[in-house]
């Protein structure tokens, strides 16, 4: 345990800072003037009712959308426009709300693809295979097998992912994101559509990723029980605006948040 780990989440070093981000599609303002930070080693939850701009926020963070205003600073380096694959090579990985696995490939190949950013051998070495390319492949296979062990999916290693049940697909997707050894992991509704048992499994994996690998996690989730138990700090969005930010117990008692979730009579 380093000193950083023993500090409460709010006092650690900032990993990612979102400053005054605004994003609109034509006349629709998806996100307006949102600022928050994600600190090293924490589990940061982003919650809010449907259409609040949570997924748009993740898309901004990993470079899929480009905000009209505001800056994002990752590991102290501010960035303006960035393609998603650059975000991936800089250490931001993510999973998707609707499963976005490569359906024609096996579990192993899916997770190996996630490791592509760490593999270096060029086309000519790959064409020869024997030698450096094969050695590299085996080296990364070992790392991927560790992830497979960690997620307890050894038995489906060579199964095409299209044939897997939903819960396992979600797990493979987490594996694919982990394979890149990210410093920031974005999880978009990792437990959507799961039953209680699967949610408990997934929660366990998320906590283990956080504590064993030290990966910082930002997650969107609708299950409040899960959010309150897992996260160190919570940011609440509603209609593209930030209405709450802080530790779970503080957010839970925030009147704006309660109003957003339960609705308030409009005069």
């Amino acid at each position: 345990m380093t000193l950083v780990d023993t500090l409460p989440a709010g006092q650690r070093e900032v990993l990612l800072e979102v400053d005054n981000i605004s994003l609109s599609f034509g006349g629709v303002k998806a996100i307006s003037n949102i600022s928050f930070d994600i600190r090293v080693g924490e589990i940061r939850a982003i919650i809010g009712p449907n259409g609040a701009g949570k997924t748009s926020m993740l898309n901004v963070i990993n470079g899929f959308y480009h905000p009209q205003e505001g800056t994002i600073t990752f590991e102290g380096v501010p960035r303006k426009r960035m393609r998603p694959h650059h975000a991936a090579t800089h250490g931001i990985a993510r999973t998707f709300q609707n499963i976005a696995l490569f359906r024609g490939m096996s579990t192993l190949d899916n997770i190996m693809t996630g490791r592509g950013t760490l593999m270096k051998r060029n086309l000519l070495w790959q064409a020869l295979w024997t030698g450096p390319a094969e050695a590299e492949e085996i080296e990364h296979r070992e790392a991927v097998e560790k992830i497979i062990d960690f997620l307890e999916i050894q038995h489906i290693r060579k199964t095409p992912v299209g044939r897997l049940p939903y819960g396992l697909q979600k797990r493979v997707e987490l594996g694919r994101a982990l394979a890149a050894e990210p410093r920031l992991l974005l999880l978009d509704e990792p437990m959507a559509g799961m039953n209680r048992e699967e949610k408990e499994d997934m929660s366990r994996f998320i906590i283990d990723v956080n504590t064993q690998f030290g990966t910082t996690i930002a997650l969107i989730e609708h299950d409040m029980g899960v959010v309150m138990d897992l996260s160190d700090r919570v940011v609440v969005l509603d209609y593209g605006k930030k209405i709450g930010d802080g530790p779970p117990e503080e957010v839970r008692n925030n009147q704006d948040v309660i109003d957003a979730y339960l609705g308030v009579p409009h005069e």
């Binding site: 899929f64 694959h85 991936a88 190996m112 592509g116 086309l123 790959q126 097998e145 994101a177």
Partner: protein, 358 residues
């Protein structure tokens, strides 16, 4: 029990990820290679060479290339004929311009020239996909054919507009021209197909192949997990065109010996190769070979059966053959939409458990 994996344990990742993980499969593979490389050259004749084996090898090469692009990377292309023409004309210019150059070098160089042309025509794939990309590549097909007709430099200002392969030797074996030996041309083509099928397998099982397949299966997710779409798509176009260029080079230099671009490399070539990979199996090396065999060899076989053995007139045999091949294509596509290679995979799965399926 020829085909079994019981007792065939894998203790290293290296042995787990080899191409033929089952011992009997490896044995079968090397037996086939030994047969085609060591036995066939002794009884090959002109007919077998020009009508059966060389056509199969040339189309197998083209199918391998197109399968990398469509089957692995998911970028539909109808420019195959045009790219084959680039390979053929590059070979012609190299053969006539640099007479000292050995044939294998010429063929490989023709491949690289086609690859660079392929990259240029692959640029639209960064913006458009699916049917729209297919139409964009169709433009390359017509443009390239027009170009080779229009600019006399490409056919050395010959009066007929044709290109003709001058006779060339390699290691003392005549490969091109009228005096080419059947066994020499056959082994020459076989060597190329063997080596480049192996290369295709290597590319598709490593990082680059996985990135191609990721682009094919879900391009947005692929980009978000770190696949560079520009590099992946253009490398697929380059590698694919390289193969198709070599196929065109072999088609012109070793097989036909002469070519006229409109006739030899028209749009029907593009469709032929496309049908091969659809029937053989998209995203499968074996499928490319099976598809080429199906489209090239079946008509030859049919014509032989009907005209020679059953004594039908050649016209009737011809029509019978077209009908039956058509019906067979429909049959296979209904029975196994993923191609004959998928059928073979199913058979293997069954064989693993045979004779006790439960």
């Amino acid at each position: 029990m020829l085909y079994r994996e019981a007792g065939d344990f894998k203790t290293t990742y290296r042995s787990d990820q080899q191409t033929f993980p089952i011992k009997s499969e490896r044995f079968l593979f090397w037996a086939v290679i030994a047969l085609v490389a060591l036995a066939v050259p002794f009884f090959i004749n002109d007919y077998l060479e020009k009508a059966v084996l060389i056509p199969f090898l040339v189309y197998a090469m083209a199918a391998l290339g197109l399968n990398i692009l469509i089957g692995y990377c998911g970028q539909v292309s109808l420019g195959t004929g045009g790219f084959m023409a680039v390979g053929a004309y590059a070979t012609y210019k190299l053969m006539t311009g640099f007479e000292w150059m050995p044939m294998p070098v010429i063929i490989i160089l023709a491949g690289f020239i086609t690859a660079s042309v392929g990259i240029v025509f692959g640029l639209p794939s960064l913006r458009i996909k699916g049917f729209y990309l297919a139409v964009a590549t169709l433009a390359s097909q017509f443009f390239l054919v027009w170009l080779f007709n229009k600019v006399p430099w490409f056919y050395n200002h010959s009066a007929t507009g044709q290109i003709t392969a001058p006779p060339r030797e390699f290691l003392g074996f005549t490969l091109t021209g009228a005096n080419a030996e059947p066994y020499a041309t056959y082994l020459f083509c076989l060597g190329f197909v063997f080596v480049f099928a192996w290369v295709a397998r290597n590319l598709t099982r490593g990082r680059i192949g996985r990135q191609w397949m990721a682009i094919r299966d879900m391009d947005i997710a692929a980009e978000i997990i770190g696949v560079n779409p520009l590099m992946s798509k253009l490398s697929a176009f380059a590698v694919s065109s390289f193969y198709i260029g070599i196929a065109g080079a072999l088609y012109f230099s070793v097989w036909t010996g002469a070519a006229e671009v409109t006739e030899a490399f028209g749009i029907d070539k593009s469709f032929d190769v496309l049908f091969m990979i659809i029937i053989g199996g998209l995203g499968s090396i074996l499928g490319s070979l099976i598809g080429a065999a199906f489209i090239v060899l079946l008509p030859v076989l049919m014509t032989n059966i009907f005209a020679r053995w059953l004594g039908m007139s050649t016209e009737i045999a011809e029509h019978m053959q077209i009908t039956i091949v058509g019906v067979l294509i429909i049959f296979f596509l209904i029975k196994e939409p993923h191609g004959i290679a998928a059928l073979w995979r199913t058979i293997k799965e069954k064989l693993r458990l045979w004779p006790f399926p439960h």
